[in-house]
């Protein structure tokens, strides 16, 4: 297999703040809205897509983020998930949903880069350039927000106390990384 190249591959530490790019993992965009769709997802992933806005569901293996009433993002927690497993998962979802016209399954593994932020100051850092009100988000494990950070579209996923995963489009990711690290100096 060829080596992948992600744009960042780096980890930085600041006072009360740690920024790290998580190695690429499978990410799949799901679209659909019928009950059958949900059931099928449930069967394949053993988790149901959440109906409540700005939330996620998940188990050890996968996270399922609400993006809109008919859109979800799956991503894996497992860094070591094999490419074969990834393809199998994509294929079974595609066959069960896209092919049967229950919705749409799209691989977006490389569309999004995932960056993890940890530490007491992560919300101060993001709030430098993000108009989103984190007051409720930070209290609730699993919260999801799609918003803009420094004018870039992002998906934010609360992974626990002062621990969030940020998804940013690949082509913006180097600039976003640079901005994060610059701003981290002035939190």
């Amino acid at each position: 297999m060829l080596n992948f190249n992600s744009p960042i591959k780096s980890e930085k530490n600041y006072d009360d703040l740690k920024i790290i790019e998580i190695e690429p993992t499978i990410k799949i965009n799901l679209r659909g809205n019928k009950r059958q769709f949900s059931t099928k997802i449930g069967k394949i992933l053993s988790i149901l897509p959440p109906n409540e806005a700005n939330t996620s569901s998940g188990n050890e293996k996968f996270n399922l983020l609400w993006l809109s009433p008919d859109e979800w993002l799956i991503y894996s927690n497992d860094k070591n998930i094999s490419l074969e497993d990834q393809l199998n998962l994509e294929e079974s979802l595609f066959n069960e949903i896209s092919k049967l016209n229950q919705g749409a399954v799209t691989n977006v593994s490389d569309h999004w880069i995932m960056i993890n932020l940890k530490g007491n100051k992560i919300y101060d850092l993001l709030s430098k350039s993000c108009p989103y009100n984190f007051n409720d988000f930070k209290k609730k494990n699993g919260s999801v927000a799609q918003t803009i950070v420094n004018h870039i579209d992002t998906i934010l996923h609360n992974k626990g106390d002062n621990n969030i995963n940020i998804f940013v489009r690949r082509s913006f990711s180097e600039d976003f990384w640079r901005w994060l690290n610059d701003s981290a100096k002035y939190v």
């Binding site: 060829l2 190249n5 744009p7 919705g103 977006v108 593994s109 420094n150 600039d175």
Partner: protein, 1003 residues
Amino acid sequence: MSKNLRINKNKFIDQTARISFKFNNKKLYGYKGDTLASALLANDIHLVGRSFKYHRPRGIMTCGSEEPNAIVQISNDPSFTEPNVRATEIELYEGLEAFSQNCWPSVNFDLGGINNFLSPILPAGFYYKTFMWPASFWEKYEFFIRHSAGLGKSPTKPDQDLYDHQYAHCDVLVIGGGISGILSARLSAEKGLNTILIDDKKDLGGSTLYENNDIFKIDNENSNIWLKKQIEDLKKIRNLTIKNRTSVAAFHGYNYLLARENLTDHLSIHERKNKIRQRLWKIRAKKVVIATGAIERPLIFDNNDRPGTILSSSIKKYIDYYGVKTGENISLFTNNDSAYETAISLDKSGVKVKVIIDIRENSNSVLSKQIEKMGIKILRGYTVINTGGYKRIKSFDVKKLSNDGGSVVGEKITYKCDCLGVSGGWTPMVHLFTQSGGKLKFRNSDNVFIPDENKIPSEQISVGSSNGDFELDNVVNNTVKSIKVFLGLDKTNYEQLKIECSKEKQKRNIWLLPSDKPMFKTKPFLDFQNDSTAKDVKLALREGFKSIEHVKRYTTTGMGTDQGKLSNMHALGIIADSTGTNMGELGTTTFRPPYTPLTFGAIVGRNVGEFFDHTRRTAIHNWHVENKAEFENVGQWKRPWYFLKNGENMHQAVQRESKAARESAGILDASTLGKIDIQGIDASEFLNRVYTNAWSKLAIGKCRYGLMLNEDGMVYDDGVTTRLGENHYIMTTTTGGAASVLSKLEDYLQTEWPELNVYLTSVTDQYSTMSICGPNSKKIIKKLIPALDLSDENFPHMSFKNSIIDNVNCRIMRISFTGELSYEINVQSNFALNVWEKCMEAGKEFNITPYGTETMHLLRAEKGFIITGQDTDGTLTPSDLQMDWIIGKKKYDFIGKRSLYRSDTIRDDRKQLVGLLTDDPKEVLEEGSQLIESLEKKPIEMLGHVTSSYFSPNLNKSIALAIVKNGKKLKGKRLIVPMENENINVTITDAVFYDKDNERLNA
């Protein structure tokens, strides 16, 4: 050695920390805690600057952000200097250098002062009435006007400081850290509400902080001591954030406020390194409490602008807070009790006020009794009619006021002085309230505009003196009362406070004080910075400028850097008096943001220089950099423009790349094209509606070029869409159009065609695209994927195959934008660089040549393919582009179809796309140049313009595409491209220059 007027030691100024600074190159000393103004006053320096128009000497007049006169240039380092800084606001730091502005050669001797003598012919609006002769001379007059106007100087080198932004969301935002703000913040935070308290000073406490008169008592303690305890308690509350040195600049709708926090301006230069200078807070508050206080008004009389004329409350602050006396022979002039407070403070510090001129006939408040007890002389019912001195006030004249206050009577008395305190009453700071959309009402009893409680635009409340409460008991009790209602509190700790204070009973207000001279011989200043006087206002009224906005604009009153904080009320008062209007009906001028001037840098934050705008990079970007690509900005993307090889210039590189692509093999990074994954049972129908051509019959595995119009029928975007499965397509868009196409398609799906079952997902960043073209491209692909059957039967033009390169899944499309046999490899972006390198490796024996956008543009122009945005400009239909073949005439409808049949769009002599050949095959036309038939006919009729133009190495001649009126019918016609120095002859040709029969696609 100048005099030292620092006479008090107190806790606010750290007299152990001496600070040296320079004013107009003279080395002086102050202390930590000083402002530049207090330090100058301590050195007995009043004269700080010159006024805008008459260049009159002006001194420090206030102690805050309303200061109109004492504005200075900080530093003369070209990247650090800052114009128009208020000496009353800037905190003293070691090494501070300040300079007077708007004077030459110096503030003490300013040649511009001659304007003062010309002032009779320089009334308001004089420039509208003159400088018209001779007609061509205005710019020459203007040169002088411009150079004598302006105040400080702009920096001339880039700023080295950093600025930052921070969003904050809170339940309650309290603006102002005076007593009412502190009470509000405490009540709010103690209720458990997430609260932010903002104050522009370095310490909380407002004027109560340094109140030392023991007639002001709360719960039997002096008010300052009581407040100090409140502040200490306040600082312990966890859900309260206090921001000092922070000033709210703007109050927008939806309780969105901007506040500028000053972080380093008070530090010595070496302490500022690597720190943010200012941070702009963007605050979204559920509720807002405005507790911005009030500012003292001056009084309007002849020559009321001499240095040494200071607001009375500022004199009090200078003595009580800074320990500085503002003169050695101080008198006061007032229409209310606050000057008495000042006199008492001065007296306590051992400075005897010589006389208080009070325009009121009597006053019997606690304060006035205190004054009388002290034996300070009060002249009641008198007014100041003039002042003496030039660079410093030396004396003032007083006369008795007539009963109606309209004139003066009796003998003139002259007093010597070196400082005159003035107090014209108080103006609530309602700026933020009105900025937010609130309406004011006028209170006749004391001539103030206060918030109209029935016209509050959002969840907000004004308290304290910004709401018109001026006396301590009212301030405290009304604040507590209104906050209780506002925040829904049951009980507070402030229910039964015992408050002692002085109550002012007598009021008398005269906006323009009478003089014993005729009006036109006086100079009663309203706007001290802009030199507009009461007589300017009266002149404006005489000339028919009746609305306050007209008067303001005609006289420039209130247009200075203080934005009329001191002058607006008097201007209004004088207009009301002169026109016999009630001030309430007159209304105020609009208070426009920001409340105090806001640094550009702070507004922009970190988005400067390298953070100005994002750069989007493809997954192969670094390879391009290493291989000497020059880049072109396409939207936010960086695309390789051309690759320089040993010593080439751009032209040579492009010629080489273009030849290589046609003769052997070229490779292009096309990853920036927009890619949209389309799924759903109605996907084909959807494409039918959005593209001009038909899609239902496209077989799975095939690709098709599509053209998208705007609803007005004009070409909008184009690209190849591939059918991956029965209900599955992948669409490509132009690089620049990607985002807007997706959002437009979503719009139609969600709002016009909700019946369609279609899902769109952007995969622009998911896949990277490399296009290999040229006669050897097939061989390269064969090397990369030996298993793939590349025969025309199995893999014809306009089709795609799924395949695997070195274990990585990829999609190979056989599509061509160059006219050459081409394969486009689409691969997940994280593998793209490696696949690209594999392609380079496989292509090495064929001299595979990476090429950039310029070559791509050249190659497609040889084939007459359009680039939307370059060959189109939003005014061309498909037919104009000679692309009638792509219009599905049988289709019932598609976006923009109806517009193609309007009377103007069906004309057959519209501007149309054609090819151009120059007579001289070496002559390359300039893109954008115009086409005409003849130079004889005037006016010259322009028939069209050149949209694309290149020297084609493959044809060895210059080629161009152009839009020409009625072009379709003009093949063979000779036209002229008129350049500035020459006319170039061209002939209209077919737009396809190369391989008209498309033979090379299968070569």
